[in-house]
Symmetry: C2
Subunit: 204 residues, 2 copies
DNA sequence: CACGTAAATGGACCATAGTCCGGTAATTAC
DNA sequence: GTAATTACCGGACTATGGTCCATTTACGTG
């Protein structure tokens, strides 16, 4: 049914060439949005203001980023990419090379730092329709990584379930609540995360 | 500063007498909202439509329930109250009388059932500003209960932290995702919940 | 280079959550 | 019973996320 081009190579990119003006506008928008977020906080930035600040129409904004969460995600993208790169190909214990349980602890610690630095932006990016964040590919990537580590560690139970629970403990909404509302320190969260993982995952 | 009536009894209700028309309107609104939710699903019910269906103005709606989440919560209120009543004063193992760990497992199982039945409504009620659900008194009540059980069980770590993690595993957004998107069965979730608690909480 | 096509654009438009306030009706004091 | 008070009412209004489409602009081709 799909009209594959029957060329030699299957196309890896959905878009052959992003038009120059589109690329320029995307960059302009991201810079404008970044500035607004920096000066007023992610929560107070409206799509209208971003569009006006970037000097483009609202339609352009939504064409490029889909929705508000998409824009926020795009702002996080660079860090996000570095984060994923880190646990896939970085150096141990975050990257490969250390025992699985150790890596899992390192994963959580990095995630806590990530939330510390990008907290509001993360919260804004995850705050869409119910369940949207779970269906997104970023969650899938994290989940797959945790599942892999759990299986590697020899965990006997259902790794997918435990991955959901563990990622739940790192959810930005929760971590921000613990930090700001409950007054837990970052060190406290790190310690508790470590204990949690050690209690659940076998040493290998 | 507060003008306490200096009568004999401290007032237990913030409002001395809800005016008859107000009470009538609240009831009418709840009935109308219940009907709309039943026939179109919580997600598709707008405040405007509820107001029109109830034959009241929008202002009345917001005066009574604060915001959309408040209305959804009010619709859940009866079940919610029964749920809380159950784990505070009900019969074992959900209520008092059983070992703490057993009660905790029962708590989770009831919560999973609760999500099964009231899923969409719960999701709608929890879907507000980031962190709002965590700051709400319902979350505080659940958290306090779980903390109590953990301490009673002789859990050595920080009970508050573990309570957040455990409640995260029961979050309606997550459970609905696991049921609908991941295709996990309710039995599977029950089993995994039980294993999770048994792995983390000492038998007592 | 001229041209045709497909993509990008922008801002008018829509839907919906939430606010505000002049008017009104229920309660209370006398 | 009547007047004063107080709480309630309703719908017009605002703010904001998101859609639509007629118009414009870049790009590949002859």
């Amino acid at each position: 049914m799909e009209g594959d081009g029957a060329r030699g190579l299957p196309m890896l990119e959905p878009v052959r060439h992003e038009r120059a003006d589109a690329a320029r506008n995307r960059a302009t928008i991201l810079i404008a949005a970044e500035g607004l977020v920096a000066e007023q906080g992610a929560q107070n930035v409206t799509m209208d203001r971003v569009a006006r600040a970037a000097g483009v129409g609202k339609g352009t904004l939504f064409r490029h980023f889909g929705d508000r969460c998409g824009l926020m995600r795009a702002l996080l993208d660079e860090r996000e990419r570095a984060f994923q790169e880190g646990f896939i190909r970085g150096s141990a214990p975050f990257g490969p090379g250390a025992p699985a349980r150790t890596r899992l602890i390192a994963f959580g610690e990095r995630m806590l730092e990530h939330v510390e630095i990008q907290g509001d932006l993360l919260a804004a990016a995850e705050n869409g329709e119910p369940g949207a964040r779970l269906r997104h590919s970023v969650y899938a990537a994290y989940r797959a990584h945790v599942v892999l580590l759990l299986e590697e560690s020899g965990y006997g139970g259902e790794a997918g379930y435990l991955a959901d629970v563990l990622l739940g403990a790192l959810l930005s909404e929760l971590v921000l609540f613990q930090r700001r509302e409950l007054g837990m320190s970052q060190a406290q969260l790190r310690r508790n995360w470590g204990e949690l993982v050690r209690a659940l995952v076998p040493e290998d």
